[in-house]
Subunit: 568 residues, 2 copies
Amino acid sequence: MTISYSEFIKEAHLEGFEDSEKYRAWEPKIKKYREKLVNSIPEEFKITLPTDVAELQEKGFNGVDFLYKSGVLSSKEIEITDMSASDLLGQMASSELSAEEVFKAFAHRACVAHQLTNCAAEIFYDEGLERARSLDKYLKEKGTTIGPLHGLPISLKEQMNYAKKTTHGGYVSQLTNVPEKHGITTQVLENLGAVFYVRTNQPQSLMHLDSNNNVTGATRNPYHLGLSPGGSSSGEGAIVTLGGSSIGVGTDIGGSIRGPAAFSGCHGLRPTSKRVSTSGGVSSGMGQESVLAVAGPLARTIDEIDLFMKNYLNAGKPWELDGSLVPMKWRDVPVPEPQKLTVGIMCDDGLVKPSPPIVRALKFASEKLKAAGVNVVDFKPIKTDVASDTVLKMYNCDGNEKQRQLLSASGEPLTELTKYILSQGDGSKPYSVQQNRVLNFIRDGLRTEYTEAMVKQKVDIILCPTYNNVAPRPEKIFNWSYTSLFNALDFPSLSLQTGLFQDPSIDTWDDGHKNYVFRNDLEKLECALYNPVLFKGAPIALQVATRRYFDEELVAASKLLVKLFGTK
Amino acid sequence: MTISYSEFIKEAHLEGFEDSEKYRAWEPKIKKYREKLVNSIPEEFKITLPTDVAELQEKGFNGVDFLYKSGVLSSKEIEITDMSASDLLGQMASSELSAEEVFKAFAHRACVAHQLTNCAAEIFYDEGLERARSLDKYLKEKGTTIGPLHGLPISLKEQMNYAKKTTHGGYVSQLTNVPEKHGITTQVLENLGAVFYVRTNQPQSLMHLDSNNNVTGATRNPYHLGLSPGGSSSGEGAIVTLGGSSIGVGTDIGGSIRGPAAFSGCHGLRPTSKRVSTSGGVSSGMGQESVLAVAGPLARTIDEIDLFMKNYLNAGKPWELDGSLVPMKWRDVPVPEPQKLTVGIMCDDGLVKPSPPIVRALKFASEKLKAAGVNVVDFKPIKTDVASDTVLKMYNCDGNEKQRQLLSASGEPLTELTKYILSQGDGSKPYSVQQNRVLNFIRDGLRTEYTEAMVKQKVDIILCPTYNNVAPRPEKIFNWSYTSLFNALDFPSLSLQTGLFQDPSIDTWDDGHKNYVFRNDLEKLECALYNPVLFKGAPIALQVATRRYFDEELVAASKLLVKLFGTK
């Protein structure tokens, strides 16, 4: 069990990335950015933690518990920020609640969440307040809301362009990047009435299932400050779980919405590509369409995910602003009757076996579904090795050229997980255009095989792990296979909470594990990382997925599942 | 006016394509293929033309006239083959007509069409007959049709995989390629009840707006045997116009459905990408998704285009067989009321000005629309130079690698138009993956600009030329800008007949032409090619287009337009 991740770093050819000389010129900018972040927390929202953060991390401090029990928020604030988005919108529309008081409660809670987890990259309280007040004024004067999301506090992954605000995407070199205009999705949400006040953290390169970067550092897990919140929509996972926003928007090219939702403790949807706009933002993937990045919502309930998608699409009509989108309205799909639903469970993708808490959750889910009359069948993984291999090659088949541009412009030091991801696929080896086309062809073949398998077996949704384990320890997550499969397939997929939490007393390896023959080195490494005592109290989520563009059916089925799990 | 196309061939680096030594081994295979084609015409369907083909070409012989007036088809055959697809399907479903007699009439007409225009690459009468008889048997035994296209004679571009039949796509090297299975679209149509009996001609490389190849040579224009039928779905343009099939299926990556429809004399729809499957076929574009190839119907009426799309999508559910498709049903969209329709006319794309017959047709269309109460506005071309430049680069940014593979495998001689297209963009210069991504990014920007312009100006459809001229002379078509614009934009676009035909006595350059200052060399070349007397009787078509995935609205508006033009 002595394998380390570094053994996985093949010939990465990472020369020309780091440059400590050049980096020195950037350090004052970083310092200034951080100071601004610290100073952006209103004085009255500052809290004192029981001990210093390092100690809390060591102890596995539960931030969610603290938030509810410490009294840092008033009961009225808790009440408002625990209301569903639908109730909030209804009460604001009828003036039972003002946008201002809703905003203030969420902004307060967001600041607490940030002080617990370092989830924010930027907080702009005054602008949020001004916006909320202008919405109240609008409603008062016109007698109608500005749009269906009138007054709703929404958090945004920092990577998304925000007009006239630094947008760095976790790259030091982009600290000087100040877009003129909002990215399309931000603009659509603003048009619908959303209130913005916080932009959230993400890892360097945007390509970790974790959160560390050289600008504002790593985010912490809400349920266990010593664990990772996941990534790359790291701050979204943390802030949404802690109720610092009603709904959050993340992006996902390999698991970046589903990972943080699963690990942090909320739900997160990776929609099919080209429904939610990713236009306007910092990333290494501009024009890369072999494996498409998507944007999508994170929320505490599936209903809120549904509400986001429906309003964003049907009222927002993003395809009128972004010509690359597919103009498909969000269809009203009823929650399926259990007896009419077939769920194919894929317990193990054949690459990396799940850890004990994940195995327990799969068993729990299977039993709950069967008890309710759902038709539960086995879904056998199909060429998951090819899918994982292909998608990893797709990420960097430009020979890491774009990442090199973005990273070497500041010469910033590479974090370990950046080095890891840049070494995957064929590392810095550039592919020819024709080789890239072959990858696309392989990918389309996989899409057809999975589609045919689901149609033939009449499987409505696939249920499987989001990752082979619960929330990883910081900088210790190497396997993307369970999430990136659905990026390769472009299947809508959703991480949902089971309501279970890791328990060291029961989530131990079974007797068979000590004689288990690992199928590959990655599995050996990932399994070695699981030590029951380290993950105490981590939320346990699973992932569901279905065929392309059946997002509505996926969300509807997810509503049934969380109901059967006893969550929401 | 001495510019020749060869001046446009930049550094094409076409070494390694041709190899006369190697090619010698392929010549017997070509001979055998051609003999088989000649022998596949049933004896009783053989016709005698008035004089030899070269003379008919010289004279501008009208094949459509000949077909109706020469008596080669019985009046009953004419009656059947001139019925709408909808009537045919209705009468076959009610057994008023048998699939066998429908098949025989179309097969006869197809054989006449082939002898006039060399439109077929393969004819398989016996299999078609057997299929038609089995459908009649099915209906008799089961009392129901096999599907909504039960008995409909459909022609297929040869490039599309056909189970157990040679599928060469115009490449000599592919004469040994015999797919095991049908391509997806062929399979879907077969599932729905279509009868196949003819596969049609296409140019070498599949990248000409013309038809010549080394396997079966060039196809001729039905209305003027001395002109080109267009391409690359060359045989489809000719056979559909001549009524040798009820509906034809072509493919289009730069104008390959719209060109042959427009030039030959029928209508043709290039749907938005990922609605009709292109999976399974010979082409140089496997895995190329910067500018996506699409498949779509050609027909003599817009109603038949509607019927094809509706049944193919709604009953065929191709997305269950091809995981790369967008599962969007065909929506029932009523024909718009003239007063509620806004048509933006783009008379000139700013690159190559239209020839006199096209100018006349634009004026005719504008007047007809205005007279009916349609809101007609100017639509100004947006960055058409960028669009044309980008799409040409996208075709061969693999450095012509895939074309080189397919062509050099036989060493076949390159036709002039193959050399021309391989020299476009940056010729054989390979792009890096990152450079390819930049092209994609530029393309997405164009999509958004056109989308925004249409939304802002409330333009429902754009009306413009399909090409700056009517049907070109063989091997003399160099400008793709009017069609490839909509491939870059991925806008659904449709060539439709105006009912007008070129007339040398009126379609002469206006007085201003002799002092006209050409905007570029391509325009100079294309204009030099227009000599009124050479194009006598060529059909005059125009092109309509609209925003992505509004195919239904485009087809509905086209129904109105042809009605106003007095065609159907």
